[in-house]
């Protein structure tokens, strides 16, 4: 991991990898959307509404994955003082917030025809909403505190403490009685979803994940460039 600690080396690797990552993202989205809208049959109970699952579930997966990445990067920043760890955590947050919002909004659009309600305060929905608030709070810390080292320290603590919410989201449907259905893909005793519906879900899940990788690397590149620019401006103002 130390070989990526140098921002210049990281930028060089990111610049080389990004075109391939974007190409893979486009191909996976094309295959996944074909499977979601054409290949997969309607559900025997939910009818065509089940197709919302193909955009709702990957968004929810990604919202949790991105927060886990932020918490891990924050822990690495504290323990190893890795120069890119804070950059990784800070730039992941807006991406995670968008996917968390999409999980909540598409879930609401799925809930209305299936449950008869846009929103219910059950454990899964509420813990997901808390995750969205954590994202907003984390972004607000970086925006509100001008001193970067102080903002970084507070943001790291929020990211690590907030990680407790991730297992709560995952197991909320097992620990409490919820209107939200229990886990049906990632289960110890195997998936309960038929393969004809599962494969587009897995392909789109992978597509969303690779999309995150592409967006995150691009965003990290911007942040490194912005920090370099700020340092140069400070150095020049010091010379003047």
């Amino acid at each position: 991991m130390q070989q990526f600690a140098n921002p210049t080396r990281f930028l060089s690797l990111a610049n080389k990898a990004l075109p391939t990552i974007w190409a893979v993202t486009v191909v996976l989205f094309a295959i996944g959307l074909y499977g979601a809208l054409i290949g997969a049959p309607p559900d025997y109970q939910q009818g065509e509404t089940v197709r919302i699952m193909f955009v709702h579930v990957p968004a929810a997966w990604l919202a949790m994955l991105v927060y886990s990445v932020m918490a891990l990067a924050s822990a690495i920043a504290i323990i190893f003082r890795h120069p890119l760890a804070d950059v990784a955590a800070k730039t992941a947050a807006p991406i995670g917030a968008v996917f968390c919002f999409l999980a909540l909004a598409t879930g609401s659009l799925w809930g209305k025809p299936m449950w008869g309600a846009w929103w219910v305060w059950d454990a899964r929905l509420t813990s997901m909403f808390v995750l969205f608030l954590l994202y907003v709070g984390y972004i607000a810390i970086w925006q509100a505190i001008e001193e970067p080292s102080r903002a970084a320290m507070i943001a790291r603590i929020v990211a690590i403490v907030g990680f407790i919410n991730i297992p709560i989201i995952k197991f909320s449907v097992d620990w409490w009685n919820t209107l939200h259905q229990p886990a049906s893909v990632l289960r110890m005793d195997g998936s309960t979803i038929d393969w004809s519906i599962r494969w587009p879900l897995l392909v789109l899940g992978l597509a969303y994940t690779i999309l995150f990788l592409a967006l995150h690397l691009t965003s990290m590149r911007s942040e490194i460039t912005a920090r370099k620019l700020r340092n140069l401006q400070i150095a020049r103002s010091g010379e003047a």
């Binding site: 991406i95 659009l109 965003s219």
Partner: protein
């Protein structure tokens, strides 16, 4: 996909919303990246 099925509007809305937000996110990140790199290039350009 049967576009005339019951609740098809909810499916269309979910996909349209996802597309709009993901496209917006991509545009925002690309614009920021291009703007930052341009500013750095201008700053590093030797003054005449």
């Amino acid at each position: 996909m049967d576009w005339n099925a019951d609740h098809a509007g909810f499916v269309i809305a979910a996909y349209a919303l996802s597309l709009a937000f993901i496209a917006g996110l991509i545009i925002y990140i690309f614009n920021r990246d291009a703007r930052t790199r341009k500013r750095l290039a201008q700053f590093e350009k030797p003054k005449k």
